[in-house]
């Protein structure tokens, strides 16, 4: 389409061509581009003109009710760690651990006539986890079980136990300390080894099938020896690392050394029995069942220990004071916990803590989650260069906000400080906290407007 106008002298003074249509379009497009590039500048000038409608306030004086809960039982089977030893402690009470396991049947090799038994021992590989003073000499005894290990509904607990013979099948004394370069402890069981050697050589009925074998060797308990030990040591409990090894040789001119390895049995037959005795500690009044003791009876302190099942429980009796404020939004809620000073000189602190919500019945209902849906954790942070002040900080904003969502804060809806579920059933890590001066703080940042 062409539009032609007539000038004064009849000349064409304007022709509207296609190209000129695009000019405004290019112009506008360019403009949108320019506008989008415009920086929203970060400005500090003009502060004096601002009429703020909001106030950010902090309250960190909410009181915290602390108590310690002792769980009835903890599943300790199939954790791939076997704990043995004992540790006396007048803060947490005494703990004695015994590891139960059995052996796996396999088709044993033909043993030559000229074979001569040499020795036998259990190989116990260090797991790297321990509790207590690992620099002292330790003695561990091995007992044979007189009943087979039968899991109750496929689990075994720290309270589970099976009958064992009082006779010591084998015993070993060793220094487990960090200075030891050994990766394993060998517990000699020569008498048992020779008996087994002969049964294998004679193709005895007892070693003819899995069923017969496990009736003959029902299982073992590895536990603290008669003297009081000062530590509990963790050994790797799996088929590769926990085994009975029988050494023998063929009596030729050139002796030929041979061995038979009998590995640990089913994972869910392996568990740790924990005997907890709080009588020499501030927790002596805790009932072994039922099982909550307020910190007012324990020098204002709260106790956490894995495997034993001690958990500090927190409740917030005064947090609902915030409901008295007219218009508010909680923006952030930090729970800050400082371990009791001096409580972690010997026993190192957990690298991070988890937190669970609980109720009047002290059930661990669920682990608190962070914004990403992962378990909420509080990492161990040391305040200064000398690592003298340790703190753990949880961001429990979500928990607090959801508690307040119905404009009511349920006092019985408490929080429990713990390890991850895996660590809590496989580590003896401990933590001592207290609610004075105040070493547990709930810090709530809220906006009023």
């Amino acid at each position: 389409m062409k539009g032609i106008g007539e000038g004064k002298e009849g000349k064409e003074i304007f022709s509207f061509t296609g190209t000129s249509i695009f000019i405004p379009i290019i112009f506008i497009t360019g403009l949108i581009f320019i506008s989008s590039c415009t920086s929203k500048y970060e400005f500090t000038m003009g502060q004096d003109f601002l009429d703020s409608q909001t106030r950010l306030q902090v309250i960190d004086t909410f009181s915290v009710d602390l108590s310690t809960v002792l769980l009835d039982s903890l599943k300790t089977s199939a954790t791939k760690v076997a704990y043995a030893g004992s540790c006396e402690d007048n803060v947490f009470g005494s703990v004695k651990c015994g590891a139960y396991f059995d052996l796996a049947y396999s088709d044993f090799p033909e043993i030559e006539e000229k074979a001569i038994f040499d020795s036998a021992d259990f190989m116990l590989m260090y797991k790297g986890t321990s509790y207590g003073d690992t620099t002292s000499l330790m003695t561990l005894n091995l007992h044979m079980l007189t009943e087979r290990i039968e899991p109750y509904s496929s689990y075994l607990y720290n309270t589970s136990s099976f009958d064992f013979s009082p006779e010591v099948t084998g015993s070993v004394s060793f220094y487990p300390g960090p200075n030891s370069s050994d990766s394993a402890v060998y517990l000699p069981v020569n008498a048992l080894g020779e008996e087994l050697f002969n049964k294998i050589r004679n193709k005895d009925e007892d070693v003819s099938s899995s069923e017969m074998f496990n009736d003959y060797l029902k299982g073992f308990l590895l536990e603290s020896g008669p003297v009081d030990n000062k530590a509990i040591i963790g050994f790797i409990a799996d088929a590769d690392n926990l085994k009975l090894i029988i050494y023998y040789h063929i009596d030729n001119e050139e002796p030929e050394l041979k061995k038979i390895s009998i590995t640990m049995g089913e994972q869910n037959h392996q568990f740790n029995n924990v005997m907890y005795d709080p009588h020499n500690s501030p927790l002596s009044n805790i009932k072994l069942e039922g099982n909550e003791i307020p910190s007012t009876q324990t020098d204002n302190q709260g106790y956490m220990q894995g495997l034993v099942g001690l958990l500090p429980k927190l409740r917030f009796p005064t947090v609902d004071e915030i409901l008295a404020i007219r218009r508010w939004k909680i923006l952030k809620a930090d729970l800050i916990i400082e371990p009791v000073k001096g409580s972690y000189d010997v026993f190192s602190l957990p690298e991070k803590l988890y937190i669970y919500d609980t109720d009047k019945e002290n059930r661990l209902n669920s682990v608190l989650l962070d914004d990403q849906g992962n378990s909420l954790t509080a990492p161990l942070v040391y305040d200064d260069l000398y690592e003298e002040e340790a703190t753990y900080t949880y961001d429990i904003t979500k928990f607090i906000n959801s508690e307040f969502s119905d404009s009511y804060f349920d006092y019985e809806h408490g929080l429990v400080i713990g390890l991850s579920q895996d660590d809590f059933t496989s580590k003896l890590d401990r933590l001592l906290i207290e609610c004075k001066n105040p070493r547990i703080k709930l810090v709530i940042y809220f906006l009023t407007y």
Partner: protein
């Protein structure tokens, strides 16, 4: 249908339907915190090169919405489509500090044409005021010795879409009216990235507004003298306010309360002289902001005054008198704004230098104006903005009523 009209309709409907896309105003001035923001003024095109002077200028090769009576100057054959953008680079100073910022925005889109020998019209879209600031301030965390960073930001502004008409009542006297619909929002946010909240206060404003104009021309020998008068009444804007608080747990609408937003009575007068292609003019405009109250403790209002002058003349040479003629423009203004902060009145001054360039082979033209300006003062802890700005105005001219006898 004419392609230009199609294009214009397309652009205008885009603006009306999604004004946010293009009129995402970022004035970027801390002074836009106050009231309804930074007042944009209504000069367009060539006037931008003449210090914003235009009350007495008739619309000729560009539409001049400053005075609705000016449309009667439109050529009977031309349809004019006008679009303008403005970009500026600003330096903000206090006694202690200096910060800079750059931004660019679309300022207006409008059209004008003559309907019949005695009636001409114009319609378009332009900002009335705009708000744009983003200020980081430290605020105390009450109950601790700490502070945190709170960000105050403002956006929005009042836009106007208008339709105007101008009629020649008697020889040399024309009158006009713009019926404008004012609409927009004034949005203020207080937020913190660290604490994840946004307190947002949005006031939607709207109302109709009428501007009246008059232009009278006296011819003495080869000189033309024009007198322009403009007037608009004070008006309360209809407001709807929503205040919300947004946190990680959600957004809550708080109890609503209303700001009062009004626009003041405005009177303006201008005188222009024209001889051939030479043109000069002066303006005076006054708005009675003193009677307008804002619920803000940080400032008072006073009546605003605008004084401006400007001149336009063709570049001498062969092109003079042809469609290829190039214009040069010069002007300046002095504005006593409606803001008085800490008892210090906020004044603005600009100097402008402009040119009007034809586009080769068409009737289209580009108007470019450079603007040097100063707003405010560093006295009493206030902020002075020194800026250099560039107005770009695209003036598309096409024949509305085609003569088809040569086709």
């Amino acid at each position: 249908m004419h392609r230009l009209v199609k294009t214009s309709v397309l652009l205008l409907s885009l603006l009306v339907l999604r004004p946010g896309i293009i009129f995402a105003q970022s004035t970027s001035s801390p002074y836009s915190i106050f009231g309804i923001g930074f007042l944009e003024g209504s000069s367009v095109g060539p006037s931008k090169g003449m210090g914003g002077t235009g009350i007495a200028f008739l619309s000729e090769m560009s539409v001049n919405p400053m005075n609705p009576a000016s449309y009667s100057g439109l050529d009977s054959l031309l349809t004019i489509f006008e679009v303008g953008i403005f970009g500026k680079y600003s330096s903000f100073s206090t006694v202690h500090d200096n910060q800079t910022d750059a931004n660019a925005n679309l300022k207006y889109v409008l059209m004008g044409f003559r309907i019949n020998p005695w009636l001409a019209t114009s319609f378009g879209f332009s900002p009335y005021s705009s708000i744009g600031y983003n200020i980081n301030a430290t605020a105390p965390i009450e109950g601790t010795a700490h502070e945190y960073l709170e960000t105050f930001s403002g956006s929005g502004g009042v836009n106007q879409i208008y339709i105007g008409a101008s009629a020649n009542i008697i020889k040399n006297l024309s009158i006009g009216v713009n019926a404008a619909y004012l609409f927009g929002n004034i949005t203020r946010n207080e937020s913190s990235a660290a604490f994840e909240y946004t307190y947002k206060d949005v006031t939607y404003v709207s109302n109709f507004d009428f501007n009246y104009g008059l232009n009278y021309q006296i011819n003495i020998k080869k000189w033309k003298y024009n007198l322009g008068l403009i007037y608009s009444r004070s008006k309360d804007l209809r407001t709807k306010n929503t205040t919300t608080i947004k946190t990680a747990t959600g957004t809550e609408t708080l109890k609503e309360y209303t700001y009062k937003y009004s626009i003041p009575e405005t009177f303006g007068a201008g005188i222009a002289v024209t001889k051939g292609f030479f043109k000069a003019g002066i303006d005076f405009e006054r708005s009675d902001w003193k009677n307008i109250e804002f619920s803000n403790i940080y400032f008072q209002t006073r009546n605003s005054n605008r004084y401006s002058f400007g001149t336009e003349f063709p570049l001498p040479g062969d092109r003079k008198g042809t469609v290829k003629m190039i214009f040069l423009r010069f002007g300046g203004d002095y504005r006593q704004s409606y803001l008085v902060i800490n008892n210090i009145p906020i004044n603005c001054g600009t100097l402008t230098l402009g040119t009007g360039l034809p586009l080769k082979g068409t009737l289209n033209g580009i108007n470019i104006a450079l603007e040097l300006g100063k707003i405010g003062t560093t006295k009493s802890g206030l902020i002075r903005e020194d800026y250099i700005g560039l107005h770009l105005d695209m003036s598309l001219r096409a024949l509305w009523f085609e003569k088809r006898k040569y086709n």
